[in-house]
Symmetry: C2
Subunit: 338 residues, 2 copies
């Protein structure tokens, strides 16, 4: 069962009108591809109500504004911008990773080919900045800089991820650095841009950025756990999917470095020929990660990161219901099953 | 022999420091890929002095500022932004079109694969906007909007170009609309953003935009002529290259629609099997374009567009040496051989 969070639905409702009007400006083909990706229509353009993702990033942006001034609506352009950046990166990452499914639906490149996937991603990235420029707000520049920095980090993380594929061994520290780029950077930006956009002081926006950073690392740890032990019917991925692809994830690289004999056996297993691995072999390798302590470590480390995230919030005076929302959002991230 | 234009070298010198410092912020891999693409190093990162392209777009942006206030330096961020956007589109277009050479060197995807080509292009697109946000100028927002509109047009043009590949017949009007997106839109933006950035009135920036639009269509017409009759040693492309690829270009679509019997024969030739076409057959098809009047029409139409471009300038009072530079730039575009 997927945990739902009312705040996510509310922020999706706030963000939708501007998000849809931005996408509506694209040429008909890119518009259809983007609308499909967001879950607004099927591949033939017929209206649907598919999942457009959890929208955690835009919810964080709006929550940052709510924490500072009580008003979410003002920060909608910043929230739309980060949602566009996130979805640009999903479309391009799916293409690069040759993932054929996302949110239980065919990915853009799998349906329309590489060319339209490249272009639809490009279109969403550029739209993100266009939405900010259009606000005419003097603070849009700072939000744009924060997003552009996050995009550079996203790209650094994805470059590292691609490079890891061709390497036999990846250290735990390198893997963490990759995750900070690929996942934490945009959550960090999401968490502070709403507050920046409504004019919060640096002390506040820095603390919110730290919340996003820590929550981002926790998010990746949970993702990596789900990539090994997630329920296929919920995640939409095959069982032990990260092991099928020989991915070097946080629990795996940690287990190899710190897991004694089972860790060494796991390292040896990962260098073996990747052709036609049986379910028994995958279960054996997942067992090695567990025996080496990788599963426990990742779960504990995710909890520790969530504590650090909540500690960062102590520097930001805010209404109790806002604080409560931050706590529930953090809990949602570690307890989610997809 | 390639025509050179001193103004292009001067503007390259003005733009280089900010362009290089922007690229220097990328992760080491994306930085190397981008530096290679710009001609600053070879594929191993060793410094070289290869051609980084004609830099017409940044020259136009600086010239727009010079025409309005006599100062090019102020508009450097706008010029750098448009140069980054242009090179993002080249890297992604080469990937989508599977072109293996640009400026007599291997293309990015051909050297490093699809993943790094997607990411390097993404990085340059995002950097373009980052450079604008960083200026802190209240006019950066308007420049950003103009560039983002041009990017949407670029994407519309490239979507159409991809779609044309799978179609037997493309009308001359559709082909012109594609060229307006793919080529004219960014030249149009280039031509006005420098003036916008230094605070020119709409009457002036509209006239400069019109110059860029017309010059852009002329640019594509000349490109299409070079794609048929360009000197392979100069263009770096095989003889009759557009016919080898069965591209639907401006002179070809015009010849089919307006060229009587040779035009109809050309249309029939283009629907034939594309496997192993001999040089004689290519020369025959190019001859059909010529007999159908496509070559003459494209040359005359390019001249007409240049006249319209220069007429637009009449609305902008400027120093004679600036006007002279616009005239030489327009002439360079129609007389170039690569």
């Amino acid at each position: 069962m997927t945990i739902t969070l009312p705040a996510l639905d509310q922020s999706r409702d706030l963000v939708q009108p501007l998000l849809r009007s931005a996408v509506a400006r694209l040429d008909p083909t890119s518009r259809k591809v983007a609308a499909y990706h967001f879950g607004w229509c099927d591949e033939n353009g017929r209206q649907t109500n598919a999942s457009g993702g959890k929208a955690i990033r835009s919810a964080l942006a709006l929550l940052g504004a709510a924490a500072v001034c009580g008003d979410r609506q003002t920060a909608v352009p910043a929230a739309v911008a980060v949602e566009l950046v996130h979805n640009f990166s999903l479309i391009h990452d799916d293409l690069m990773d040759r993932d054929t499914e996302r949110r239980h639906r065919a990915t853009v490149w799998a349906l329309w080919g590489d060319g339209l996937a490249v272009l639809a991603g490009d279109a969403l990235l550029s739209l993100a900045y266009e939405v900010l420029f259009e606000t005419g707000s003097p603070r849009a520049g700072r939000v744009g800089q924060l997003l552009a920095e996050a995009v550079r980090e996203l790209i650094r993380g994805q470059v590292a991820d691609l490079e890891f594929e061709s390497r036999a061994r990846v250290g735990a520290a390198e893997c963490e650095s990759m995750a900070i780029g690929k996942t934490a950077a945009l959550l960090r930006a999401s968490s502070c841009i709403g507050a920046v956009f409504v004019g919060a002081a640096p002390r506040t926006t820095d603390a919110l950025a730290e919340y996003g950073h820590q929550v981002g690392i926790a998010f990746q740890l949970v993702d990596d756990l789900l990539g090994l032990w997630g329920e296929p019917a919920v995640t939409g991925k095959p069982v032990f999917s990260d092991l099928v692809q020989h991915k070097k994830t946080l629990p795996i690289t940690w287990a190899i470095e710190n897991g004694g004999a089972p860790g060494r056996e796991l390292a040896a297993w990962l260098t073996r020929d990747q052709q036609a691995v049986s379910q028994d072999e995958l279960a054996y390798a997942a067992g090695l990660v567990e025996q080496a302590g990788g599963r426990d470590w990742a779960a504990r480390e995710a909890d520790r990161r969530i504590e650090l995230a909540l500690a960062a919030l102590d520097k930001v005076p805010m209404a109790p219901d806002c604080r409560d929302e931050y706590v529930r959002l953090a809990r949602f991230i570690v307890e989610r099953t997809a």
